[in-house]
């Protein structure tokens, strides 16, 4: 049986692994088979992670996290957790490749998954004009007209990044101001290739084999109009990934994992949670990393006491 298993490989998971490994807990980190590294794998330049005054690429930052976790003996498994039983003293974890692990403590750092618009044909058109990853797919929209929907930092970053390729980027937002940080919003507002469409939502997707346009709906007047587009990038936020533990671990009304006060303790002894999966508010790489550290220290304390 393992001392501690960490599920998730974003900043929270890897930081928990660094601390747990240095505490001699010989952690196993189950990283996912195709999403190892988490959300930052889809970003380009990260400018606000302290300690890197010149910024660095998201995937490079995550490679550093991984190297630091491995340096102290973290075992990393590229597999997907598909089932857990966390209720007993022995926590049981099953993976997509058919492995079963047991541990005394578990740290849940499963992060958040991108939110869909929830429109008909969104899935079918995904990869055919509809995208959630500007760094993956921007290349295919050279000299095209595209739109980004959203109003947070991710939407600003995607819109700015996409102007490298596209001739024109519409930034569609439901409200009359962005919730993005000022520096990111100003960059988008000052970019001559970006045109903001305020107070507007997307009511429909047009096109058969590929996206050809969207139906816009004014959120104030309800008025609808068509906008021809070659591509639509969706950046309207994320939902915590809790399906694995729902029914075992207490959730908040907003469906984040509920933790006790400033700690990482869930309602189940020996089960801790960190990062975006517990955080409806801040959701930064650095806050996730701090939260992963808290979880490792809480787990270490729990293991010493038991």
């Amino acid at each position: 049986m393992r001392e501690v298993i960490i599920i998730g490989s974003g900043p929270a998971g890897y930081t928990a692994a660094i601390y747990a490994a240095r505490a001699g807990l010989n952690p196993l980190l189950i990283a996912s088979s195709v999403e190892a590294g988490g959300e930052l794998m889809k970003t380009t330049e990260v400018e606000n992670y302290p300690g890197f005054p010149d910024g660095l690429m998201g995937p490079d930052l995550m490679a550093n996290f991984q190297a630091q976790a491995e340096r102290f003996g973290t075992e990393i498994l590229l597999d997907d957790v598909i089932e857990v039983d966390l209720r007993g003293d022995v926590k049981i974890i099953k993976t997509g490749e058919g492995k079963t692990f047991e541990a005394k403590a578990v740290i849940l750092a499963t992060g958040a998954a991108y939110r869909e618009l929830g429109l008909p044909r969104e899935k079918e058109l995904s990869g055919h004009g509809v995208s959630w990853c500007a760094t993956c797919d921007g290349f295919f929209f050279r000299q095209k007209t595209i739109a980004v929907v959203g109003g947070g930092d991710s939407a600003m970053e995607e819109a700015n990044f996409l102007t490298r390729f596209a001739d024109k980027v519409y930034l569609i937002h439901r409200r009359d101001s962005f919730k993005a940080s000022k520096i990111m919003a100003d960059r988008a507002l000052n970019n001559p290739k970006i045109e903001v469409i305020w107070n507007t939502g997307i009511a429909g997707l047009k096109g058969e084999a590929k996206l050809e346009g969207v139906t816009l709906e004014d959120t104030v007047t309800g008025e609808k109009r068509e906008l021809p587009l070659d591509g639509l990038f969706i950046a309207i936020g994320n939902d915590p990934r809790v399906w694995l533990v729902e029914g075992q671990v207490d959730l908040t009304p907003e469906k984040f994992i509920n933790v006790e006060g400033r700690s990482s303790k869930t309602n189940l002894p020996g089960v801790f949670a960190a990062g975006d999966v517990i955080d409806p508010t801040y959701r930064q790489a650095i806050t996730a990393a701090g939260s992963g550290c808290v979880a490792a220290l809480d787990a270490e304390h729990y293991l010493t006491a038991h």
């Binding site: 088979s33 999403e35 995937p59 990869g127 055919h128 760094t135 993956c136 290349f139």
Partner: protein, 106 residues
């Protein structure tokens, strides 16, 4: 490692193949592509009898990517008798890919 295919070889190796051909459209700068790539290698090695597998670098061979309307990678397309029979866009775990490809390798 799975062989990278070029535009010049497309007709002979993909469209004229007697076996179904799985093509993994990828690029260096695509993080999810790097994660899918070793899974595609495994699927290729485990199904050499039933499935021919190639990778296509969309930076080097943009015409092919454009021809098949690809706007997102990783994209896995199975060609049967020269036409796309199945298209899988985005990174998927191996078990999911095996299910998606079952009609060709089952």
């Amino acid at each position: 490692m799975t062989e990278n295919i070029t535009t010049a070889e497309w007709q002979s190796k993909v469209l004229s193949s007697s076996k179904p051909v799985l093509v993994d459209f990828w690029a260096e700068w695509c993080g999810p592509c790097r994660q899918v790539s070793p899974i595609v290698d495994e699927i290729a090695a485990e199904n050499t009898e039933k499935l021919q597998v190639y990778k296509l670098n969309v930076d080097n061979e943009p015409q092919i990517a454009m021809q098949y309307g690809i706007t997102g990678i990783p994209a896995l397309i199975v060609f049967e008798n020269g036409v796309p029979a199945k298209s899988i866009v985005g990174a998927r775990p191996k078990a999911v890919l095996l299910t998606d490809l079952a009609e060709f390798i089952g």
